[in-house]
């Protein structure tokens, strides 16, 4: 095993970031598969159906079969579409979505889970130095800068397909995502007001004594609603409303490009679940697990909270009907935006109270 790497500092940094990036992306892809499988199972159960059962035990290999089939199918490029842009945009959407995986503490989750084997292989502890996600001083800011590229890419995806349904879906997506970014960023600002930091690790460590969901409950509710809209989840899945515009902005995509688009959409929803856990529910903070599982307790609590919100997203999809586009925009501009500004004022008041009680430092 490697115990020490004798490399010049800049090469060492590049090596470190590359390892962490690959680990984070693989972890995200694995979780996207778990997310889609959980969605199909839970959604089926909420309709009293079985969901996939025949492929593997409890249908666990269903998503693998879907993935192989999608990758092996014929890629159709419509004759009226711009060929280069049509094939390039799904890759861009996937890259933009996966870039966020590096900032979120997934490398922390993987490397600290491996610490369970420290009694057997002592050199595993060296891996904790490979965590790079704690070095982003403005991590929360970068996440929303990268997510801000998404409306443009989605609008272009609809535009280059040159189909009326994709264009309508692209316009809807652009209108929805751009307008919902404003209350979302105001809510994020309220969290930043509480912590004075944009680093996700600082934000979690500020919640040692009290979770921010107790300090700012309104912020949590607004964040939940706006992230659902940003991730195009039901009840805000207007851009790919199946009963109105066939499949929205990804109508013309088949096979592998469609798999990339689908992966991007579910990755964004998964990142939203992790962000809720980090910003409002204390991230990896929780009671330490007993015995040899002690180094696993941080990742365990983080992923438990993440999966809880993942399941909540799916249950919300099963429970709620879809908004109309005009209802959605009026909800945003007349209700969520004023509420988010009220929330900002409330958080400033709450911060003084919490500071005087000594709950955050």
């Amino acid at each position: 095993m490697i115990t020490e790497l004798y490399l010049p500092p800049f090469l060492y940094d590049i090596f470190k970031s590359a390892v962490a990036t690959i680990i984070a992306i693989v972890f995200t892809l694995l979780n996207v598969i778990i997310f889609i499988y959980a969605e199909r199972k839970v959604w089926a159960r909420s309709m009293q159906r079985m969901g996939p059962t025949y492929v593997g035990k409890w249908g666990s290999l269903q998503l693998i079969a879907d993935l192989i089939k999608l990758l092996s199918k014929e890629i159709i490029v419509p004759s009226k579409a711009n060929r280069v842009a049509f094939l390039l945009l799904p890759i861009l959407v996937a890259i933009v979505s996966l870039m966020i995986a590096i900032i979120l503490p997934y490398d922390y989750v993987v490397f600290y889970t491996l610490q369970i084997f420290q009694p057997l292989i002592p050199s595993v502890s060296y891996l904790t130095k490979f965590v790079v996600s704690n070095s982003f001083t403005a991590g929360l800011f970068i996440i929303y800068v990268v997510l801000g590229l998404n409306p443009v890419l989605i609008l272009l995806t609809g535009w280059v397909s040159n189909n009326k349904y994709t264009v309508v879906g692209g316009f809807r997506a652009a209108a929805q995502l751009l307008s919902f970014e404003i209350p979302l960023l105001v809510v994020i600002a309220s969290v930043v007001v509480l912590t004075n930091s944009l680093n996700l690790y600082d934000i979690v460590n500020m919640q040692q004594k009290v979770w921010f969901v107790i300090v700012a409950p309104l912020a949590f509710i607004l964040f939940l609603i706006t992230t659902l809209a940003e991730g195009e989840r039901t009840p805000f899945d207007i851009p790919d409303a199946e009963s109105e515009i066939i499949a929205g902005w990804n109508t013309e995509y088949s096979a592998a490009p469609y798999a990339l688009l689908l992966m991007g959409m579910y990755a964004r929803a998964f990142f939203s679940a992790t962000l809720i856990a980090i910003l409002f529910f204390g991230g990896w903070l929780g009671p330490t697990l007993p015995g040899f599982l002690a180094p696993f307790s941080g990742p365990f609590w983080l992923m438990l909270k993440t999966y809880f919100f993942m399941i909540l997203f799916i249950v919300i999809r099963a429970a709620f009907p879809r908004y109309r586009i005009d209802q959605l925009l009026s909800l945003n501009w007349t209700k969520l935006l004023p509420l988010s500004i009220v929330n900002l004022i409330l958080v400033v008041i709450a911060k003084y109270i919490v500071l005087s009680l000594g709950l955050i430092s």
Binding site: R40, A44, P52, V55, D66, I68, K69, S254
Partner: protein, 182 residues
């Protein structure tokens, strides 16, 4: 009998599924187990025969059959109801919009042969006059068990490699009747 004969020559027939290479086995396995469904529901069978197996009593998502809306993302088209001359053009368009490999199931007597409307001025003699059909399920309407049996039979057919056709014939599909007006 219809258009199926044109495709007969193009089918790659693998007699023994055990002789497939590993990659082919993986492909066949994945194609069998994730048939995404495009519903081409024309008449009453669409409610009686296609919605019931999708609902909780006979849930065809157990086999990985997932209804999708865009034909680009679908593998399996289920046709119900009689194909009129006017409807034959949308049917052919939707079939050509699906990505290869693609499979077609015709359910109910109307889509197999025209049913009670057979011989009428506006009704075609079955869906296989327009597009190739892989599995025929008789009934009026078929029981939901029949449709699931049809999907299982289609999976067996995919396993044998009988429906692994790649391209349309170079001459193209036969011309449709355009003067459907009477």
């Amino acid at each position: 009998m219809g258009i199926n004969n044109i495709f007969q020559d193009l089918r790659i027939k693998i007699v023994d599924p055990k002789k497939l290479s590993f990659v082919d086995k993986l492909l066949v396995w994945s194609r069998r187990n994730s048939l995404w469904l495009l519903v081409f529901g024309i008449k009453c069978c669409a409610i009686e025969d296609l919605m019931v197996p999708g609902a909780s009593n006979y849930d065809f998502e157990r086999f990985g059959v997932l209804p999708r809306n865009s034909p680009r993302q679908c593998d399996l088209m289920i046709i119900t109801g009689p194909i009129t001359h006017k409807m034959s053009q949308p049917l052919r368009t939707l079939y050509e919009q699906m990505a290869e490999p693609k499979y077609v199931i015709a359910t109910g007597e109307c889509s197999i042969c025209g049913g009670p409307w057979k011989g009428m001025y506006s009704v075609l003699d079955g869906a296989d006059q327009v597009i190739p059909v892989d599995v025929y399920i008789p009934g009026c309407p078929p029981k939901p068990e029949s449709l699931i049996e049809g999907i299982i039979k289609l999976e067996e057919k995919i396993l044998k490699g009988e429906v692994r056709r790649k391209f349309l014939p170079p001459t193209g599909l036969p011309q449709l009747k355009t003067d459907w007006r009477c």
